[in-house]
Symmetry: C2
Subunit: 482 residues, 2 copies
């Protein structure tokens, strides 16, 4: 029995690793890499099956990019994940931690001693460290802080001092600053002496003696202009500069709009604080849209595909509990009208349609508003027009749907008054739905909250309750005897 | 009356333009630009109010970045939008067309003559032209094709030959190719002679005599290595290369993972076709997530904030009609059980909860699956484990929610058998919901379709119908007399 289970696990690991390496291969067709990849694959699988071959596995993993190892770890169940993670022990470990999802990072860090975490974190730059900071246990963090020099500690403090949604929290410090009075030839010599530029460097930052930004020198201009020219004549003096306290979503839009790769970030006094790169922007956009999608569905946070069932269950309970409460609220509304349903049982069949169509149309409106808010298309000046348009739309669509629903009810029940009530209730609830679908995101936005979080659930609970209330209320007035 | 209306419009335009310029200001704090912006603002408004000042408006608009003009146009209602668009008439016009949303582009192009469109399109590169191609009327397109040289025509054909979701459709041709047998000094001289590098150039592409890619030369390495070295010694020979037929979503992940700025794209024979840049990736990610969000809500396509009410109404009808049909389907299921509801009216109150909770829990599951599919975390090897985990989760959460619902029903109606039926129906429908929530996206993915489109609507209609059927069915068996 146990032997079969072990075989199953081994077969599973084999399949899993093969699938992962196949995917990696699909993503880069460059020959030498692919070949290297598939040899790595076989040795990898082999080493995993014979656990004594840790050293060999380790050697194979060293050839993979940290992002690829992270991807491998994310697709592995908890136990083999631990085996692979233990086998890494390389200079990559810190970067792998950086690349995995938050949920998977927890599973990795939870099995490490404070000393181990501190030594792994030692491989990282301060901006990378700041990204991990929230997940590192206090004891390990103290050890890490002691190992930093004063510059690094200052950088880390700066990064951690900005709220999550501000540019300052997304900066890195891998920028090269120059003065504007030297010539391009000297800059070239300086770069050659450095030997290596930080990743995503497409421009150098020109500052004055107070570290205030004067302009930028794109590498392009450095390469295309005469080496004898001074920086001041070649630099871009009206470069795009961001403030550390700006909203990152707004800045992400600017990156898209102007096709930026990197940009200087300054404080309130115009002093250079750090730089923002397009890779941070990509991360931000992906995280934000993922988060929006998950909260729309009522999942609290990112989930490890293989986290324990209990952990996942807890993660989804928050919104489900809210749903239970709101569902019972609409039940109580139906409860009030139970004697009316007894007099005309067709009401029970028709009432869910009134509620459901309201929810659907309200969601259409709120999604369009949430998206327009995210795109910054909604301004105090055009908001009135927009509201007017959506309400007109609600009246038009509401009339159509009301007529269709009324007609269908007439066909089903051959009851004129009932059909008229159905049409009127449908129309009214659609109007309610659009007003709520407009109102919730706009209000949340005005209060400085994220307009996407929970909108769908609040909206549906209101359109459900109102749908039942309007329909059964109209029926009790016009259709039945008291 | 008319005078007041005109005043209203003028006031509206004033507010609108001010809001737009304020927003632009907020996005870049660089001093000179802001100052320039706010002068531009006042003159802009003034010129718009006195329509005879077209020339002045035109001059002011010329200072704005095409992306900013596009943003301005998107936030303007149809009529002032036309005024501003007519005033542009500059070398920017083509790029503005490129930057506006599809819906707004339609409103702009529809008012232009074929000759005008052809001359505007003449300002664009072939890859930009390819982006617009779908929106350009046939007559104008023929004019444009005649004005291209043979290279450009070939490029355009190449771009248009790839389906929307393949890398080939996102390429541009602004790459600089070099041979590997010359030294860095010669490369620098060549770049200086060119005078300007294409946007987003962070590396040069090294090719052999058959135009097959041999490696890349990052500008970084060009700047940090000795000018006397040959390219072959400095270049990155295992560079990441994409195939023109690869899936763009997969490649976007690779851009994020490896922090790429640009990468070569090759055909099946390894010949260099073009390059892919991070700005195209950003555009793709934004468009894709916007689209997912809108289709989830049942909005067919991107909508112009100020498109006519009728156009918007049509845009939202597709899914609403599907909703009407599915809503009536669940009504018919309730209809079958009307006599049972008459015997026990509490069923009418409780049945919407069974349906609604199923929809919510199914949506949680399907969203997590859709996201994991998009991240490429689901492989043939781990899918079984994943399904097992989600089903276990459904059993646990279903039991809890079933017990809560049963308990609450007991409190409300003091009816033991009814509460037991409620608990059992709740449990069963949540299981159905999770199976459907897993099944639809996985099936759509297996069939090569987008797993996100329409999932939520199909899912809700199934959980509604099944919720009513299971609950009323169980009630008819266990609770009432026939």
């Amino acid at each position: 029995m146990e032997a079969t289970e072990k075989l199953d696990t081994q077969q599973f690991l084999l399949n899993q690793l093969e699938a992962v390496v196949n995917l990696l291969e699909k993503q880069r067709i460059e020959k030498s890499l692919v070949e290297r990849g598939s040899t790595a694959n076989h040795v990898l699988v082999e080493s995993m099956l014979n656990k004594q071959h840790q050293a060999r596995l380790q050697k194979q993993l060293r050839h993979l990019h940290p992002a690829d190892i992270a991807y491998l770890l994310e697709s592995l169940p908890l136990e083999p994940r631990k085996t692979v993670w233990d086998a890494i022990k390389s200079e990559h470990e810190g970067h792998v931690l950086l690349e995995v999802s938050d949920a998977v990072r927890h599973t990795l860090i939870s099995g490490m001693a404070a000393e181990e975490i501190a030594s792994v974190a030692g491989q990282l730059d301060t901006d990378e460290l700041a990204e991990l900071a929230a997940d590192i246990p206090k004891r390990a963090m103290l050890k890490i802080l002691r190992s930093l020099n004063s510059d690094e500690r200052r950088h880390l403090n700066t990064l951690l001092s900005y709220p999550d949604q501000q540019v300052g929290a997304f900066m890195d410090f891998g920028m090269i600053t120059i003065r504007d009075d030297i010539n391009l030839k000297a800059i070239c010599a300086y770069i050659r002496k450095l030997g290596k530029l930080p990743g995503q460097t497409d421009k150098l930052f020109v500052v004055d003696q107070h570290n205030r930004i004067k302009g930028t020198l794109p590498l392009q201009r450095l390469l295309t202009h005469s080496p004898s020219l001074p920086v001041s004549e070649v630099m871009v003096s009206d470069a795009i500069v961001f403030s550390a306290t700006q909203d990152i979503a707004e800045v992400a839009r600017a990156f898209e709009r102007y096709g930026l790769i990197s940009a200087p970030v300054v404080d309130a006094h115009g002093e250079l604080q750090g730089r923002l790169c397009v890779d941070s922007i990509l991360d931000f956009i992906r995280d934000k849209t993922d988060e929006d999608m998950l909260t729309q569905a009522g999942v609290s946070e990112e989930e490890d595909l293989f986290s324990s069932v209990w952990k996942s269950a807890r993660n989804r309970w928050g919104w489900l509990l809210i749903n239970i409460v709101t569902a019972f609220a609409s039940t109580r509304i139906i409860g009030i009208f139970e004697d009316i349903i007894l007099q005309l049982v067709a009401l029970a069949s028709l009432m869910p349609i009134v509620a459901a169509m309201g929810g659907n149309m309200g969601n259409q409106t709120s999604m369009l508003i949430i998206r327009s808010l995210a795109l910054g298309q909604i301004t105090p000046a055009n908001i009135q027009r927009l509201i007017k348009k959506e309400l007109t739309l609600a009246v038009i669509n509401g009339s159509f749907i009301g007529l269709i629903m009324g007609g269908a009810s007439l066909l089903l029940y051959q009851d004129g008054p009932l059909s008229a009530v159905m049409a009127a209730a449908m129309f009214s609830n659609l109007l309610v739905a659009v007003i709520v679908g407009l109102g919730i995101p706009l209000l949340r936005h005005k209060l400085g909250r994220d307009p996407a979080v929970g909108t769908s659930i609040i909206l549906t609970s209101i359109t459900d309750s109102m749908g039942f209330f309007i329909f059964l209320g109209l029926a009790s007035i016009f259709l039945v005897d008291h």
